[in-house]
């Protein structure tokens, strides 16, 4: 059967399919074939081959978040979006861009810069459009420009049965039909293969500056964050970096006209107090994940006003389990990333207890704890997604879109 399937995949992709290598494994699960379609039609053809042969498919773009979530329970075809890398249309006057899923975010930004525009998304790393959408990646600019879902105005996807579907369009304001683009955002490849996306753009700011201040204790950080959000200084980003419990820094990004940024920088310095300093560029940690490949990576969300409860919970859990936790994130949005460095002495039970403790306290900060990534032994030991509200509705949606569970099976919440 193997050769026959490969022939079909080659036919679907104009010969861009081959047997998978070890390096094509997804989170330790080996793939059998790699197919690299060049456009939406070829992607549809690949999905039809998968449907005919009941093959499980995981899409791969830049591969920077391929190990996030659970490992797939089954994997046959790795659908490589690397050839779907075109910027289809940049309508500068309309401030929208249409790009294919495999296009890298930094390539796209470089191209938009010529028109003094940007896609106001700044997640860490060198990911592609498809993965940024599928993982709902978040970065500092979210505070003023919104999340992926807020800037995504149209989407083309290929369903598990190979049918191509569009939603939204290329205008920012549009309420015709259900917004499938938002449903696909953060769906980890379990509802369809994203092939093309339309984004709203913003002008590049004429000037920017960053104000930083040392802040470590939960009460101190909270006080500063509250001062900032209730001020009228409209920061473009407010980020906390807490590599150790007593070496924290709060950073504030200001963007706007040169005159305006100069004035607001002075006012921010005044608001935050004598220890605050300003600089033209962000500190090196700005917008970067506080973990490396192979570390335990957590995403923790919180109510903005309950930040001290979260920071205290992290500190307490860290002490109780003797796990050093690096924390960084968008404290005025309510999304933190946390990393537990792993080495040869990885204490799986301690990591599991850490996650349990944070989830146990979740009511106090109103958020959730997701294990984005971790060594396989850790993932096997705990529930990476944690409690999920509305899980039955999600199962129903999955059942409609992919009843045979061929798309990234097992990777998402509740075994979806």
């Amino acid at each position: 059967m193997g050769d026959a399937v490969l022939d079909q995949l080659r036919a679907a992709t104009a010969d861009h399919a081959h047997a998978a290598a070890d390096s094509d494994a997804v989170d330790g699960v080996p793939a059998r074939w790699v197919a690299a379609p060049a456009d939406t039609d070829q992607t549809a053809a690949v999905m039809k081959v998968a449907a005919t042969n009941d093959l499980a498919v995981v899409p791969r773009g830049a591969g920077t978040k391929l190990t996030w979530g659970n490992p797939p329970s089954r994997l046959d075809v790795l659908l490589d979006t690397g050839r779907l890398d075109r910027i289809v249309e940049h309508a500068a006057g309309d401030m929208i861009v249409i790009a294919e899923a495999g296009c890298r975010l930094d390539t796209l930004q470089a191209s938009l810069r010529d028109a003094s525009q940007r896609l106001a998304l700044d997640p860490s790393g060198h990911g592609g459009i498809g993965g940024t959408i599928a993982s709902a990646a978040t970065g500092p600019s979210r505070l003023s420009y919104g999340a992926v879902r807020d800037l995504l105005i149209g989407l083309t996807m290929v369903r598990a049965d190979g049918v191509v579907a569009n939603s939204g369009g290329k205008v920012v304001k549009n309420v015709a039909g259900y917004d499938l683009a938002k449903l696909l955002t953060g769906s980890y490849g379990t509802l369809g293969i994203i092939t093309r996306a339309v984004f709203r753009l913003h002008p590049l700011p004429a000037a920017s500056s960053v104000v930083t201040i040392p802040a470590s204790s939960p009460a101190e950080v909270h006080d500063l964050v509250q001062k900032l959000i209730h001020s009228q200084l409209t920061p473009a980003g407010v980020e906390l970096d807490l590599p150790t419990p007593d070496d924290g820094t709060l950073g504030v990004l200001l963007e706007g006209t040169p005159n305006g940024v100069e004035g607001r920088t002075a006012r921010t310095l005044e608001l935050l107090g004598a220890r605050a300093t300003s600089s033209a560029t962000p500190p090196p940690w700005w917008g970067r994940e506080p973990f490396d490949n192979g570390d335990v990576a957590l995403k923790i969300t919180h109510e903005i006003g309950q930040l001290p409860s979260l920071l205290s919970a992290i500190d307490a859990a860290s002490r109780a389990t003797h796990q050093a936790v690096q924390v960084r994130g968008s404290v005025a949005v309510g999304t933190l990333l946390a990393g537990v460095h792993t080495d040869a002495d990885l204490d799986i039970d301690a990591v599991a207890r850490l996650v349990d403790a944070l989830r146990h306290d979740a009511a106090s900060y109103g958020g959730s704890v997701v294990v984005l990534d971790a060594p396989p032994a850790v993932k096997a030991r705990l529930d990476v997604w944690g409690p999920v509200r509305g899980l039955e509705m999600m199962r129903s949606i999955k059942h409609q879109f992919d009843p045979q569970r061929r798309l990234a099976p097992g990777r998402f919440v509740g075994g979806i």
Binding site: A165, G256, P387
Partner: protein
């Protein structure tokens, strides 16, 4: 079960006074803001709590009777048009603002809360609720959620969907589900992303958590008058092209101005073929810098008069003409259709020209009011129903305008929704496969199609095999690893 049986059951469950079956009283609810469609519902329930709504929906689900949710009934696409054999669930009594939590920049409200009341409740703390449809003095947050309402200021601040972070939801089977909350990004699919704007077809929101936004330091508004509409259009493009993101840019053409003058005496500059209202907000220094820039751009594009609002009263006068424009055309025409379409902003001049050609060729007058910054047109198609054939002709022109929007890569609705009115246009914008895929979501939530049937989609999808609902606990839930709320 017959409707009469259902009415009796609901009376006993909810109390006599909450169930309306009297024909005269039912007539009050026969239409929403789009009055050309009228259907008298079989019965109306005036709900006062989540439990009551869940009770009604469960009873409907068991009896196979359709239900339609209605807030203030101000919608402009017939989204809350009742079903003749169904229950209309009115949420307007659920008007409590449950919490304004400025420390977390959120508010929690019941669905019947009036949009503007939330801003009023948050304003002592220096906060407001950003989405501001023109009907904000009467429309409800629940209705805004259903329609994903916009408003003049959504150019900068986004639509309802960008401001809702949580909801308590009654599914079409009558289950109560909590989705999201005050914190962002709850794990799993972005259900809110698809529920907001689903026009009542996926269930009913019974509590809504929204962002409240810090009021800007400065607001500046100008009104610029132009002799030619193309000049106003060019000014809009230049403003956006200069990297300015105004809070709002609104345009009205001569006919819309004439109507507004007749209705509210807004005293716009005489002889204008078009006026622009441009509002900037944010930190004072930025607003000052960019305001000068916008004034210069208007002058460069031959604006013959620019007025700057010195205070809130003058600002309100500028906006009065614009916000009253829909109703105002009643002064210059016995009947009119309010259209809502979108084109890419750079296509505005060309599309306006095509609309004027349509108008000249047919003899049907069209007044234009629009959110120019995001290309959202509200052409007002004027006619006299008493003259035979005019109504049909107006409908035809109104439809032709939507075809233009599609031709130029836009949308058949920017903020009013598809509802009953535009379902027939959906296949012109989307393929059968697109619509089929959207309806897979419908099947997931409402396989029996009892939640606001007949809206959005021209033809319902057969849902086929049902998902395994309530067929024993999922292994993860059983193992205590995942919870089902």
């Amino acid at each position: 079960m017959s409707i009469r049986g259902l009415a009796d059951e609901l009376r006993s469950l909810l109390g006599e006074e909450r169930v309306i079956t009297d024909r005269q009283q039912l007539r009050t609810y026969e239409c929403d803001g789009l009055a050309q469609y009228k259907v008298i519902p079989a019965l109306v329930v005036l709900a006062e709590s989540t439990e009551q709504i869940a009770t009604v929906v469960r009873a409907c689900a068991e009896a196979g009777v359709p239900f339609v949710a209605r807030g203030s009934g101000t919608g402009l696409s017939g989204g809350a048009l009742p079903h003749a054999d169904g229950v209309l669930i009115v949420t307007s009594r659920m008007r409590r603002i449950l919490e304004v939590d400025v420390a977390s920049q959120r508010a929690v409200v019941e669905p019947g809360v009036i949009n503007l009341h939330l801003t009023e409740a948050a304003s002592p703390e220096g906060y407001y609720y950003a989405p501001d449809p023109s009907s904000q003095q009467v429309c409800s947050i629940g209705g805004n959620l259903a329609e994903n309402s916009g408003g003049a200021h959504c150019l900068k601040y986004g639509f309802t969907v960008n401001h809702v972070t949580g909801a308590e939801w009654v599914t079409p089977t009558g289950e109560v589900v909590e989705i999201g909350g005050k914190a962002p990004d709850s794990p799993g699919y972005d259900l809110l992303g698809v529920l907001v704007g689903s026009e009542g077809t996926l269930g009913i929101a019974t509590k809504v958590t929204v962002r409240v936004v810090r009021a800007p330091e400065a607001v500046k508004t100008l009104l610029a008058a132009f002799r030619h509409i193309e000049e106003a259009g060019a000014a809009v493009s230049s403003v956006i092209g200069a990297g300015v993101v105004p809070a709002a840019i609104e345009m009205m053409d001569a006919l819309a101005i004439e109507a507004a003058e007749a209705a509210v005496q807004c005293n716009y500059p005489a002889g204008a073929a078009a006026v622009l209202i441009v509002e900037l907000d944010g930190p004072s220094a930025e607003v000052d810098d960019q305001f000068d820039q916008v004034q210069r751009i208007c002058e460069e594009n031959n604006s013959f008069e620019i007025r700057v609002a010195d205070d809130d009263t003058e600002r309100a006068m500028f906006w009065k003409g614009r916000k009253s424009a829909f109703a105002a055309v009643g002064r210059i025409s016995p009947d009119y259709i309010v259209q809502d379409g979108v084109v890419p902003r750079t296509m505005l001049p060309e599309v306006l020209h095509r609309i004027s050609e349509l108008s000249e060729d047919s003899g049907v007058r069209v007044a234009n009011v629009f959110h120019a910054g995001d290309g959202n047109l509200h052409p007002l198609v004027l006619f006299n129903d008493a003259v035979e054939g005019q109504s049909d002709l107006a409908e035809e022109i109104s439809g032709a305008i939507l075809d233009l929007c599609i031709e130029y890569g836009g949308s058949i609705t920017g903020e009013h929704g598809v509802g009953s009115d535009k379902a027939k246009f959906m296949p012109r914008m989307f393929t059968d496969d697109d619509l089929d895929t959207m309806q897979m979501v419908r099947c997931a939530f409402d396989p029996d199609t009892i939640s606001n049937p007949g809206k959005i989609f021209p033809t319902p999808r057969l849902c086929g095999e049902r998902p395994g609902r309530r067929q024993g606990a999922h292994p993860l839930a059983e193992a205590g690893l995942a919870e089902i709320f």
